[in-house]
């Protein structure tokens, strides 16, 4: 999962950046001028539709790529997503032209990018199947488990996630009120604690009982 970070030539042409929680790395509609790889932390991806309304659909973690709108091939020049940090993050930002040049000359990097997109497709496909065929408590437990695993990948287990109930409800595919009552159940079971715009997952294994 961290194959991209092991591509040393990416760090030769890229720039490492530290960003605080709740920071927009890029925004839907921004021109795509770089690709980023997450070195540390957790990032939420909100996607838009052609009609312009969108929502939180994916969570990315250490080793994952951001800015994959650029990988759709020409002539997509605008970001189709907004990427916002849920924790303090470190990202490796690579200018698009340098990235494309590397990808052409380095087959291993090209294969890693395909692997990365494939993992993403698998994650999205499983979200869609959950959304269409699993009850809301299972979906909520699985999405929270995904967030816990995303933290774990950066060695940040148990750290606070800065996420609104609206984003969390969209990730789960439910209303805020249903999410709230579900979070209440998980909180009673000591799986997590919530505060305004924040959540701490204390015991991910409790969540597994619901999945």
């Amino acid at each position: 999962m961290t194959a991209l970070l092991e591509q040393s030539n990416l760090s030769d042409v890229g720039r490492f950046r530290l960003v605080s929680p709740n920071h927009e790395i890029f925004r839907l509609g921004d021109p795509v001028d770089s690709i980023a790889v997450i070195v540390k932390g957790v990032v939420l991806v909100r996607s838009g539709t052609a009609e312009g309304d969108g929502g939180a659909v994916d969570v990315r973690a250490r080793g994952d790529v951001l800015g994959d709108s650029a990988l759709l091939g020409p002539p997509v020049l605008l970001h189709l997503d907004t990427a916002v940090t849920l924790t303090e993050c470190e990202i490796l930002q690579v200018p698009l032209s340098a990235f494309e040049e590397l990808r052409r000359t380095n087959p291993a990097l090209g294969a890693d990018i395909i692997g990365q997109l494939t993992d993403q497709a698998r994650r999205l496909s499983s979200s869609l199947i959950d959304l269409l065929g699993r009850p809301v408590r299972v979906r909520a437990a699985r999405r929270l488990r995904l967030l816990a695993d995303a933290l774990e990948r950066s060695g940040m287990a148990g750290r606070e996630l800065v996420i609104t109930q609206r984003d969390l409800a969209e990730l789960v595919g439910t209303t805020r009120s249903t999410l709230n009552s579900q979070l209440g159940t998980f909180q009673d079971e000591r799986a997590l604690t919530t505060a305004r715009g924040r959540i701490v997952i204390n015991d991910p294994e409790v969540l597994d009982r619901y999945t």
Partner: protein, 179 residues
């Protein structure tokens, strides 16, 4: 062709005919994620990711002619042909976009639309009256009990469903929205 969870061994290219990609719900019911036709291909997710399991099931709809490329050959193509590598990346990026669009569609439907969709699936599964309480349905659809109660009442007033004590019956399943 294969079921969700099977171990993948290669990629199928459709030359002629159609196939449906389906997911499996908590009760074992199947629902359609995509319909594929000539020049589409499937099976690449299990072959290109570290997880070898099939992410969804695929079933043919009519007589198909397909071209099968075993995993090791598909990976050879990826590693030795830059143009194919580029095409595989773009194709997978498009697959991700289609999945995102489906997720957003499913999320933005209102409670009534979602309930009708799920009632249709459950009707197919049970081949008749759905033996669910309103609470079961609320859990299944992912909305509150109050909302389910409200929407079911509306659907009953419109003559679309009949409500029993512990069951819901679709009056005319074929006239419902496509699913």
């Amino acid at each position: 062709m294969f079921r969700q969870g099977d171990i993948g061994d290669g990629v199928y290219f459709i030359e002629r005919g159609h196939a449906i990609v389906s997911g499996e719900g908590a009760l074992g019911e199947q629902f359609t994620l995509a319909v594929l036709g000539p020049r589409d291909y499937f099976g690449d997710i299990a072959v290109l990711s570290s997880d070898r399991r099939r992410s969804a099931g695929v079933e043919t709809l009519d007589e198909c002619l397909m071209f099968f490329v075993a995993q090791e050959h598909f990976l050879d193509l990826r590693d030795n042909y830059p143009e194919l590598r580029q095409a595989m990346a773009e194709s997978m990026a498009r697959t991700c976009r289609r999945l995102v669009d489906r997720i957003l569609d499913a999320n933005h439907q209102d409670a009534r639309g979602r309930l009708i969709l799920q009632l249709g699936r459950l009707h197919d599964l049970f081949q008749g009256p759905i033996p669910f309480t309103q609470e079961d349905l609320a859990h299944y659809v992912g909305v509150s009990r109050v909302t389910i109660n409200h929407v079911l009442g509306d659907l009953a007033d419109d003559g679309l469903v009949e409500l029993g004590r512990r069951s819901v019956t679709l009056v005319d399943p074929d006239s419902q929205v496509p699913r």
